[in-house]
Amino acid sequence: MSALDCVIVGAGPAGITAAVYAARKRMDFIVVTQDVGGQTALSADVENYTGYQFITGAELVAKFEEHLRQFGVVLKNGTTVTRIRKAADGTFLVDTKKESFSCRTAVVASGRRPRRLDVPGEEVLRNKGVTYCATCDGPLFAGKDVAVIGGGNAALDAALQMVRIAGKVFLVNINDRLGGDAVMREKVQASDKVEVLNAAVTKEIYGGPFVQGIKVEQKGGPRDLAVEGVFIEVGSVPNSDIVDFVKKNEAGEIVVDNLNRASVPGVFAAGDVTNVPEKQIIVAAGEGAKAVLGVFRYLSQTR
């Protein structure tokens, strides 16, 4: 089997933009991905992608996909990459459960996944009231009391979504004050449906078979919040486990230089899986473009 020019892993804004650039360069490549859109698909409202004053994450992803489809790109969707390996001849092997793809370069654009809270009850009550996607599961909690765990933009976004749907919304924030953008904070603080608990540590999620409440530790003493839904929005971790031979930072992010090169020649990375600061859709898209232009240059120098 002859090696492909490139395998792009992931199809969020970074992976899709990389694929658009690769297609225009007529590279011999495929995209291998679990889903199309990545975290963007789960964003409710996007108001900072240039050209769109307002668009939902789902609509933006549909636009991305439409752009991609125009080129007849080979998209292995619904396919999990299990590992990227170095072959003896300097090429790489991208393994999935079913098959393995040989390639001269790889662009890792595998994004991030939600961070777990790591408290008792979280795993066993997952999808039984515990969720990591307010956009998906929010409407199931119509009229019910819920807790959102977290204090950044994602938590504020989830709280604002739930204000429209739920009964009472507790926002359980581990820090002394809320983070995120001022615009979002003001909206949350203006709602009489939201109670913000600052400096509050979530200790346990309890119930059975479905969530019945959470236990929270605060300065004033413990509190027991009777809620049926728990939305966990405490950040994310990079999906970088699939490649174990490149340099990563302490957060597990793949370290790239300003040409998107990882520490091993031939491996490039882009978007939220990397150490590039600012996890933004538009940043990831730009990084995807840069990565493939870097791949193109690398291929023409090493061929």
Partner: protein, 77 residues
């Protein structure tokens, strides 16, 4: 032909994708919006033992989430 029922919410991206995928493949299915239909929500929770959407029931077999591999296997796609 397989009996397919999709429990979903209007805002859930995976639900939209799952339904689009079935349409693309020419698979007929019944779609229920559990954010509007309390009885359907209860049925979904009863058959799947959980509250995440989408839930896709193919000839009585319950698939939680848009699990394309399992869906393909069940539907012979």
């Amino acid at each position: 032909m397989a009996q397919v029922k999709v429990f979903s919410t209007p805002t859930c991206p995976y639900c939209i994708k799952a339904k689009n995928y079935l349409k693309e493949k020419g698979v007929a299915f019944e779609a229920v919006d559990v954010s509007q239909d309390r009885l359907a929500l209860k049925e979904m929770v009863d058959v799947s033992g959980q509250m995440g959407v989408p839930v896709i029931v193919v000839d009585g077999d319950v698939i939680v989430g848009f699990d394309q591999e399992r869906l393909n296997a069940k539907l012979g796609l």
